[in-house]
Amino acid sequence: MQKSKKRKLIGIYIFLIIFLIIALLPYFWLILTSFKTRVDAFAIPPKVFFQATLSNYREAFLDKGFLLNLKNSIIIMLATVGIGLGLGLPSAYAFSRFKTGRDKLLLNYLLGTRFTPVVVLALPLYLLMSKVRLLDSFVGIVIAHVAFNLPFVIWMMKGFFDAIPKEIDEAARVDGYSWFNVFLRIDVPLAKSGLAATAVFCAINSWNEFLMALILTGRHTATMPVGVPGLLTPQGTIWGQIAAVGTVITIPVLIFAILVQKHMIAGMTMGAVK
């Protein structure tokens, strides 16, 4: 009995390890390829040991100008997170503290935005922005990213504010704090780990986003994902450089995702699963 149980457990570990190898090997390969020369990248059988080179990074970021895309990605990400939190925090707080009869309607409105496909919003934003000359501007793409992240921010932060005991607010009110100050100086600092998770969530959404950026950005504001298809040229695909850009897109996401993993599932199901 004991022995068969142990054997079963070993079987489970083997299954999980195989699963993870399949799930993660491609990333490993991507990162490896980014350090290979053209010859090594094409070698058959594939090389695991090779002379590492930084030439792909140099060519992509310096010669092909991906440094600009990197800069654009960072600007758009920071602006999206900043504006998303700035607008979303007060609203999330009101959902948690100042309940009214219309809350349900407003929350449904947020969910409706969450369920709208990107392409459905991309079309009118493109047409309207071309009228007011906002195509290829940071303002335009940040507006689009905020549109998708704002419901996320409000929904996630509502949960974090709910977790703070209301007695704390009342004590602060007695001490003469205005509601705005209770919110800003007491409750926002108390919710800071949730705040960090929400910020990371938005940052990843904006950083990875492809379709909106493909449509709304141009030569001056293209993000990294938008630049990548440009490397798939008819003369042949430059895999080393694609891998280099791919690695730069992927690594920060991996680090941050691991940091906030315990909030990830709740965020992605809009709180339906904790």
Partner: protein, 297 residues
């Protein structure tokens, strides 16, 4: 009583003040543009003729859509993709969740690593697959050759195989996520149920069938509905890997809409498709709210 009433009144002013920035912005940047989409779907706006924006055509774009075989093809592909992707993701997710739930050592390490595929940009996943499947030097071709596997070496030339690859790509990205969602569900089941079942002499498969599965139903519903909706928004991965091809074998609805709007520049026609898509997704969203978030409010 009176005092309480005044307090509520007080709150509602505060609520308005705190909600206003977010909801004004959201209305301006989402609801407004969506209403604009609705409007132009009744016009004949396309880039090829000047002033076409103001030509009212009534329901013509919608009629055209219902007669457009390409539109129905895309809808069909989308449902095909959704059906197989979601089934495989759920099945793999359950297995993964049960495996993760039955280990104690390294459980956190395994769960953390499982999180990775869904956090990476879908675009990168599409690129990695095209790299992997590259007919000249991809790892896949090499594996098939060296192991003498009876498999075709070029996958994206055949309509059926291309669709299978597009589905597998999604499964590869999202099955781990389903695993984690279901794991959260499993961990919320109280151990007492299992004890009781064991006392009654239930076998392992009976416990799974009559205890685990019914208790997991709420999270299963969440996972299935969420993924079903998300597959409707599929764009990045097939766009990069197949571009909707060969022919339009993998042209899911978002790629179709993209092509109508930004390649053919038939704005009004694309807008009509968008309106239909929007309505379909909102209906799915209502189901999600009803069945997945019912306990929330």
């Amino acid at each position: 009583m009176l005092k309480k009433n005044r307090k509520l009144q007080n709150y509602s002013h505060l609520a308005v003040a705190f909600h206003l920035p977010a909801f004004l912005t959201l209305t301006a940047i989402t609801l407004g543009p969506l209403l604009y989409t609705l409007k132009i779907s009744f016009f004949d706006y396309k880039i090829s003729s000047a002033g076409s924006e103001n030509v009212f055509v009534g329901l013509q774009n919608y009629i055209r859509m219902f007669q457009d075989m390409e539109f129905w093809n895309s809808m069909g592909k989308t449902f095909l993709f959704m059906f197989f992707a979601v089934i495989l993701e759920v099945a793999l997710g359950i297995i993964l969740a049960m495996a993760l739930n039955s280990i104690i050592r390294f459980q956190r390490v395994f769960t953390s690593l499982t999180l990775i595929p869904m956090m990476v940009a879908p675009l990168i996943i599409g690129l990695m697959f095209s790299f992997f499947l590259n007919p000249q030097f991809g790892l896949y071709v090499w594996l098939v050759d060296t192991l003498h596997l009876p498999l075709p070496t070029i996958l994206t030339d055949s309509p059926v195989l291309a669709m299978i690859v597009v589905i597998l790509m999604d499964v590869w990205e999202w099955a781990p996520y389903m695993g984690l969602v279901f794991l959260a569900g499993l961990q919320s089941i109280s151990g007492e149920y299992y004890e009781a079942a064991k006392v009654d002499g239930a076998s392992g498969s009976q416990i799974f069938r009559y205890v685990t599965l019914p208790l997991m139903k709420p999270v299963l519903v969440v996972g299935i509905l969420l993924r079903a909706m998300e597959t409707f928004k599929e764009f990045d991965k097939p766009f990069i890997l197949t571009g909707g091809g060969p022919g339009n074998a993998t042209e899911v609805i978002d790629i179709f809409t993209y092509r109508q709007a930004f390649v053919s520049f038939n704005f009004s026609y694309a807008a009509a498709v968008c309106v239909v898509l929007f309505i379909v997704l909102q209906i799915c969203g209502m189901f999600y709210q009803k069945f997945a978030m019912g306990g929330e409010e």
